[in-house]
């Protein structure tokens, strides 16, 4: 394996850790708002690290640009959906978790 491959493997592993942490949080967290928080984390950082790792690996600029575009679109979706769902949940009176 070349150094580029090691770099890609490290980034993919980190991204997968973020995805799995997001999955655990999605199952374990106590209310809607905290789950929204961990879901957005998965979108931004997990997919970002995976996309960055693969963009290093792909030799061409067009493929790398397309990967970054995918990541930007997912981030746009995640941010706007987190805001809209949280806003709607608060206005519908979904309870906030208290210890």
């Amino acid at each position: 394996m070349t150094p580029t491959d090691w770099f890609t493997a490290m980034l993919l592993g980190l991204g997968t850790i973020f995805f799995i942490a997001g999955a655990v949080g999605l199952i374990r967290f106590p209310d809607t708002y905290t789950r929204l928080h961990i879901a957005t984390k998965t979108d931004n950082v997990g997919l970002g690290l995976i996309v960055f790792g693969l963009a290093v690996q792909s030799g061409s600029w067009s493929v790398a640009g397309k990967l970054v575009l995918i990541w930007l679109l997912v981030m746009l979706a995640g941010a706007s959906v987190a805001y809209l769902v949280a806003n709607g949940a608060i206005s519908r009176g979904i309870p906030v978790w208290k210890r």
Partner: protein, 92 residues
Amino acid sequence: MKYLCLFFAVLMLLPAGAAVWRMYLGPNAADRIMAIQVLGTTVTAILVLLALTSERNSLLDVSLVLSLLAAVTAVAFVQRAWPDTETDLDAD
């Protein structure tokens, strides 16, 4: 390198399963639409990994469309299809 990407793609099925489980559990509609969002992101990651594994760049276009539609789906749900929207649509 290809087998490593394939391994990570298979490992990515775990968050997808968690999202499906949350979709089944979810106490309210907000949790379900959020789980659909996470499922879309996970499938996008799987498709991107498989595009590098199989060297088929058309899979990148598929995941591009998927990520574009994920935003539209959830925004349409929140604005149109969420129950009890009558009080909310003209709230702000």
